[in-house]
Subunit: 138 residues, 2 copies
């Protein structure tokens, strides 16, 4: 189990415990990018480094289960605005709480100082590494 897999499976587990039984890992990963202020599927796809067709499937799912809704974008009629429903806001809230819970468990395990160092190392150093190259799909 890698760090990534552990993080996303922990998040998924906690979200299910909070009643979001129909959310998958892909749904939650996608959701994080909406939280960053993105409002269009193609932007999310580019930022996630996956195809817009993959993102499309997730948005279609999330619309079907009532987490978000799509609306015509008046500024560009090719695009659709991705908007949160009431349940979408609850999901976002519960996701933030779950992530805080996970971080608290890590801190409990390795201590606040090393957690801070680890966060710093990952943000600075991996950030620099990943800024180097992108094999993004079409």
């Amino acid at each position: 189990m890698t760090a990534d897999q552990w993080l996303s499976s922990s998040l998924l587990h906690l979200m299910r415990a909070r009643g979001h039984k129909d959310l998958t890992g892909a749904h939650l990963a996608f959701f994080a990018f909406l939280e960053c202020g993105l409002t269009h599927a193609s932007d999310v796809a580019r930022r996630m480094g996956i195809s817009r067709q993959a993102v499309y499937k997730v948005t279609r799912d999330l619309e079907r289960i009532g987490v978000l809704r799509l609306e015509e974008d008046p500024t560009d009629r090719r695009q659709k605005l991705i908007l949160m429903t009431a349940r979408g806001d609850r999901v976002a809230l519960d996701a933030r709480a779950s992530l805080a819970e996970i971080e608290a468990r890590i801190e409990e395990r390795i201590g606040p100082v090393r957690l801070d160092q680890l966060r710093g190392a990952l943000a600075r150093d991996w950030g620099a590494v990943l800024g180097l190259e992108g094999d993004e799909p079409s």
Copy 2:
């Protein structure tokens, strides 16, 4: 793109450039555990935290393309010994060289000191975190 995904896709890319066109990411991930001295599929499955059925498929693939071969284990007739073929040895060599190349590119990007710190932080801190819980499959 996460750090994990970046690492494995870089490794896969370099291995393909070295002529191993038929190897997949799952093949290479599995291979790393053979390099650690494991000789039986069930051991690999446990260490990787995946089902032994998933490992079985990979071994079957790798046997088919001539990277490894299976032999009856004389000490336990339930088990089979996983052995390298000549091509398997070449794969292992090329994988080590590719990883060294990747690490060199990271070092070039963030410098030797921060690379060392990052490696330390990941080994110590994430190791401690992942040692905490295991949702391993049956």
